[in-house]
Amino acid sequence: MPSYEPQPPVLFDAFRERRTRRQRVRATVRALDLARQRALVGAARLARPLTSRLRG
């Protein structure tokens, strides 16, 4: 009777994370939106002391 010697299974391991062109475009638009919002917030912070001084 043949003996059964367990062998470790060979598991596949060649996965690669990808994004479609549409997903890359969306990510770029989101990044640009975020940068624009940060720029607006930054400009508002800079403008606040100036406005206060003008009112003051």
Partner: protein, 212 residues
């Protein structure tokens, strides 16, 4: 292993009206991953893609491909005659489309060569995903799988569930949650060379493109 005849009986039990509505109305799946799958197929950049849609149901995915202008020659295969009948009715007169009834684990009678075999929300309901993937690999250059249960579980679980097939009739079907090890073993055994993984941004769905 579940009796495949019992599952075939389930998928053949759809009422004509319910077969036409399947995945088109209240049970429609994530539109985000459908778009993702369409984009992945478009990325293969073939003049006219030859698509083998395995488990095509009423071919609502072909309808989507047409609506976004993806030029393809489409062959839909399903075990369910009522769903295929609905597909034939919906796509009557379309010369680019053909349908065949076959067991997805053998694809007996489905002869030819395609650019890509597609499993769109199908792997999770098959009794033998390895056999189905091997049969697909023998007929297509690429395999694209759209998962609603991505194969990232720690353990393998297959549940027996019930679905409504029209006129209040409930029938059993399988729902599989595949472990990452099981999936990786299957990929190794069918000599897959590489898998490109695309993640849907609107759901947990994933699209995998298998290369050989």
């Amino acid at each position: 292993m579940a009796d495949p005849d019992a599952l075939t009986d389930s998928w053949s039990a759809w009422s004509p009206a319910r077969a036409r509505r399947y995945l088109r109305t209240e049970d429609a799946a994530s539109t985000g991953s459908r778009e993702l799958l369409g984009d992945v197929l478009r990325g293969l950049r073939r003049e006219e893609l030859r698509i083998l849609d395995l488990g095509c149901g009423n071919a609502q995915f072909y309808e989507y491909l047409k609506s976004v202008g993806l030029r393809c020659a489409y062959t839909g295969v399903d075990v369910s005659e009522p769903l295929l009948e609905a597909a034939r009715e919906i796509h009557t007169g379309d010369a680019r489309v053909s349908f065949a009834q076959a067991d997805l684990m053998t694809l007996q009678g489905v002869e030819g060569r395609w650019d890509v075999a597609v499993f769109s929300h199908v792997i999770e309901i098959l009794s033998g995903p390895e056999d189905a993937l091997r049969a697909a690999r023998d007929r297509a250059e690429f395999i694209a799988i759209r998962f609603f249960e991505p194969p990232e579980f720690d353990t393998d679980v297959v549940e027996l569930r019930h679905m409504e097939v029209g006129e209040g009739r409930m029938v059993p079907y399988l729902r599989r949650k595949m472990s990452r090890d099981h999936y990786r073993l299957i990929l190794s055994r069918i000599s897959c060379r590489r898998v490109d993984v695309y993640r849907d941004e609107m759901s947990k769905d994933q699209v995998h493109l298998l290369r050989f």
